[in-house]
Symmetry: C2
Subunit: 131 residues, 2 copies
Amino acid sequence: MNISDAAARAGLPPKTIRYYEDIGLVTPDRDPNGYRSFSDVDVHNLTFLARSRALGFSIEECRALLALYEDKSRASAEVKKIAEDHLEEIERKIEDLTAMRDTLSHLVRNCHGDDRPECPILDNMSGERPV
Amino acid sequence: MNISDAAARAGLPPKTIRYYEDIGLVTPDRDPNGYRSFSDVDVHNLTFLARSRALGFSIEECRALLALYEDKSRASAEVKKIAEDHLEEIERKIEDLTAMRDTLSHLVRNCHGDDRPECPILDNMSGERPV
DNA sequence: TCTTGACCTTCCAGTGACTGGAACCTCTAT
DNA sequence: ATAGAGGTTCCAGTCACTGGAAGGTCAAGA
């Protein structure tokens, strides 16, 4: 199977798949003409990568998860550890963003948003008049 | 004032301040020895940048906000527009991360995390057995 | 048979917002 | 005189792609 078919099945752009080959995440065969030839296993691994990336795992985490996925004698504890660490990071990010949102929505609510210059948003960011 | 004092007052690393000068966000004077010399206004602007960055605004948004901050005849509507757009983006990110967290925490809860290979996390990511 | 157009290939550069490090200069205190 | 703490520039690396150029390959139609 050529790259664009593999891309369609895995739900990844061809460019991304080439990049994944570059960094050693997948190793498709080559046809005599030099075209990449993707097996079902390759496509399966690409799908796995697409899903784990969609869950926010970094490339290196995906690499580790893929190795565990292919190791049929793995301990699920190893997988769970990676997932828990990632979950904590997601939760930290949510907290950070929520704090930003709260501050910002408060400022936006207090800004008239008309043609006058007075602006609590700028005042807050300049540290002049904490809202 | 030298860069490390300005950095301490603005709450930014000196490296970041040099970078901000590179991209034209600040333009401190220079002493005869070539050292940057930060005025109170420079420090004020750097503080403004530190705060707006902390609220998640991009550098280009910060550039626009800083210009509005310095334009005493601005219309607050312009500021509010930038802030509202950014707020929407933050909310989108929170939604994305929350969806990830929900999926992932569900998977983690269902994984034994012992020395056996069975793992609903990997099963889900491989698309074999949606949990 | 020739050509067209859709594929495929590699390689290089750019993204955002810094950050680390090397090589070198300047100031202050001893 | 020297040591050490500052300052300077410039180059490269981060992360995960993405865009584009230049060129090779293939299948279908005139």
